[in-house]
């Protein structure tokens, strides 16, 4: 048991799975010699050699396309998009093959592969290095999209993703890479793909978030508990697709009030589907409209203005107040 940050926790997951299973290999730009631009794959080359830790040419479609080929041949590639901002270059392969091969062959060919990518804002990065666009993957049938929020669940979810028989897009909130540490057990730990996690039980208000936004969500929940004695139930979505709508609906049926915190632009973001699922399953239990605290429908500004645009705990608290006072 060690206190690890998220980079270290992901590294641990990779190393342990590669140790266990010779079919697991890692590929991407700068993942081998350099150990990844965020050092997530650091040390893997030394441990597993250059056939299993592969520096590729600079070509995102090539990385996904060749990973699909490897997976068809029974390997379990864990490939990296250096930043999610470059992943749209591989949407052709992802939509046409990663998500469809199983269905196309009624299960004869399957693609056990993971596509890792850092995403999200808050690190004062250049253009295209700060977006949250999980829904572009999540909307595609056949896609699994997993987003951890901390070191421990990052490790547990990544292990599950690697063992999953289907392609998993594993989106790493880079703002949380080194922001804090958690105890991560040495021994194997997994969390299920396809399930939300209720990280705190409560009765008055449901707060739903994922990834880096879990931090302001948690902070706001603590604040509102302190201020008003509200009993807050907190859900970490963890798997965006397929969405565990049941856990969400169950919570809202109980609390009657809900706040969703999303970093991505509002329109057509994941929170819309969550609201719709609540509408489908718990509408008559709602005592207030579900409140969405989200990014704005604007092109992510350069980092000079970035902070004003990211949802923060203060806005979440205000949203909670509004919901509770409705």
């Amino acid at each position: 048991m060690a206190k690890l940050n998220m980079v270290q926790a992901i590294n641990l997951a990779l190393a342990q799975e590669m140790e266990k299973d010779a079919d697991v290999l890692v590929l991407g730009q700068d993942v081998a010699v350099d150990g990844g631009v965020f050092r997530v794959t650091d040390g893997l080359l030394e441990k597993f050699g250059d056939q299993r830790v592969v520096d590729t040419p600079l070509a995102e479609s090539g990385i996904i396309g060749s990973s699909i080929g490897m997976a068809m041949a029974g390997l379990k590639p864990v490939c990296e998009m250096q930043f999610s901002g470059f992943s749209y270059l591989m949407m052709g392969q992802f939509e046409a093959h990663a998500t469809r091969m199983r269905s196309r062959t009624h299960g004869q060919i399957t693609l056990p592969m993971v596509i890792r990518m850092p995403f999200g804002g808050g690190v004062r990065a250049l253009e295209h290095h700060s977006e949250s666009r999980e829904v572009l993957f999540a909307h595609l049938p056949g896609a699994k999209v997993v987003i951890p929020s901390g070191p421990r669940n990052a490790r547990a979810l990544l292990v599950a993703a690697i063992r999953d028989p289907d392609p998993v897009v594993f989106m790493e909130p880079k703002h949380s890479y080194r922001a804090f540490r958690e105890e991560v057990p040495d021994a194997e730990e997994t969390l299920p793909v396809g399930k939300c996690q209720v990280v705190q039980e409560g009765t008055d208000l449901t707060v739903i978030s994922w990834g880096a936004m879990m931090r302001p969500a948690l902070k706001a929940a603590a604040e509102i508990e302190k201020r008003r004695g509200t009993s807050v139930e907190i859900i970490d979505v963890q798997t965006i697709a397929p969405l565990d709508a049941h856990t969400i609906a169950e919570s809202v049926r109980k609390t009657g009030r809900c706040v969703i915190v999303q970093e991505a632009p509002r329109s057509y973001g994941a929170s819309g589907e969550i609201v719709a699922q609540i509408n489908d399953r718990a509408l008559m239990h709602l005592e207030a409209p579900v409140k969405r605290l989200t990014g704005y429908d604007v092109v992510t500004p350069y980092f000079g203005r970035e902070k004003s645009y990211l949802p923060n705990a203060e806005r979440v608290v205000a949203g909670m107040e509004e919901t509770l006072d409705f």
Partner: protein, 363 residues
């Protein structure tokens, strides 16, 4: 070195068997009677099935499909040169290769009639990937498959196809570059049939040959007469040998002609001259192959007639099987979204079944 040539390249064109059936003895591969005849039989079978499919489509008994007539001298020798364990990552106009590699005729029929069942192989070990409709993707898959073969230390190779049009896609570029960097056992065949739907070869690219596109990746390239099965045979065997020896990928441009419409939904009279088509028919591969066999004393009209009858019989049987009514569950799609059905999918699945039930009862 102020101004200095630092690299030289060339593209060679290979033809062994010419349009008149004349063979260049120096280059002629030693196929032997049995293999030579087998090659022709497959070519004829592919042609027979293709022609039948066109009829079926015109009669409304089959969906839209891309005829492969005229491409047999590429697809058949390539398929024959491959070994068990090799992967085939095709484009969509290689009916011949599919047949040679062991895919049942009915698969093609089911596939073009709108059923995923046409992708399911009787044995996954046949290693024939489903058609890659999104042009170019298969080249990247092939690079990954070839990497896997190398990683595992097998001597398996991967054969992939693309059209002249497909060479313009970024995936062609990225896939070939990956395979070349990895020195992966891959053979990429550009089936240059002069047309990408209505776009002629000259509008597709300004390069003199398509073979030379391989120079960009530092790999061996060759252009062959794609209506000449012997040239294709020689080139693909060399390329496969190189692949298995660990010498990396090869790009083969096979120059042929799309004798038919792009797909049955297409009307070539909109964009090309029938005179050009006629000229192309004069070069088509089956006639010259047959002449070559006849010159060798391995073929005659009686054998031809017998072969035509056999092919017809085989195709008849396939069509009959294809048209034999089967109950196909309509809810298959729910079963194959993921390895395990997720709760939300399960609900939708139930909803689907209820809809089916209701609409069935009413209809």
């Amino acid at each position: 070195m102020p101004e200095k040539q630092i690299a030289k390249f060339s593209v060679t064109h290979l033809q062994v068997l010419d349009e008149k059936g004349k063979v260049d003895a120096a280059l002629e591969p030693d196929l032997g009677q049995e293999q030579a005849v087998e090659m022709y039989r497959w070519m004829r079978l592919a042609r027979t099935l293709d022609e039948r499919m066109l009829k079926l489509q015109r009669q409304g008994r089959l969906g839209t499909f891309p005829p492969c007539t005229g491409h047999e001298a590429v697809s058949i020798p390539v398929g024959l040169a491959m070994k068990k364990g090799d992967w085939f990552a095709g484009a969509f106009r290689e009916l011949g290769t599919r047949l040679v590699r062991g895919e049942p005729l009915t698969n093609t029929l089911h596939y073009y009639n709108g059923w995923e069942e046409g992708n399911i192989l009787p044995d996954a070990d046949l290693r024939i990937l489903p058609t890659s409709v999104v042009i170019g993707c298969q080249i990247e898959h092939a690079a990954g498959l070839a990497y896997a073969a190398k990683y595992r230390g097998t001597d398996e190779a991967v054969v992939t196809f693309i059209g002249d049009g497909g060479t313009s896609e970024g995936s062609f570029h990225e896939g070939l570059n990956f395979a070349a960097v990895w020195k992966a056992p891959m053979v990429a065949i550009v089936q240059n049939n002069q047309w990408a739907i209505s776009i002629p070869r000259e509008t597709q690219t300004a390069s003199e040959t398509l073979a030379q596109k391989g120079i960009a990746y530092g790999i061996p390239v060759i252009q062959v007469d794609g209506n000449d099965p012997l040239a294709v045979w020689v080139a693909v065997n060399e390329a496969l040998d190189r692949a298995r020896a660990g010498d990396g990928p090869t790009l083969i441009e096979a120059v042929t002609y799309r004798l038919m419409m792009h797909t049955t939904a297409d009307d070539p009279t909109k964009y090309r001259q029938s005179a050009d088509e006629e000229a192309a028919w004069a070069k088509e591969p089956l006639i010259r192959t047959r002449k070559w066999l006849a010159n060798k004393g391995w073929w005659d009209d009686a054998r031809e007639e017998k072969l035509l009858a056999e092919c017809k019989e085989q195709v008849d049987a396939a069509v009959e099987e294809f048209e034999t009514p089967v109950e196909r569950a309509h809810d298959e799609s729910f079963r194959h979204v993921y390895g395990t059905e997720h709760a939300v999918i399960r609900e939708q699945h139930e909803d689907f079944l209820a809809n089916q039930e209701r609409e069935g009862q009413r209809g």
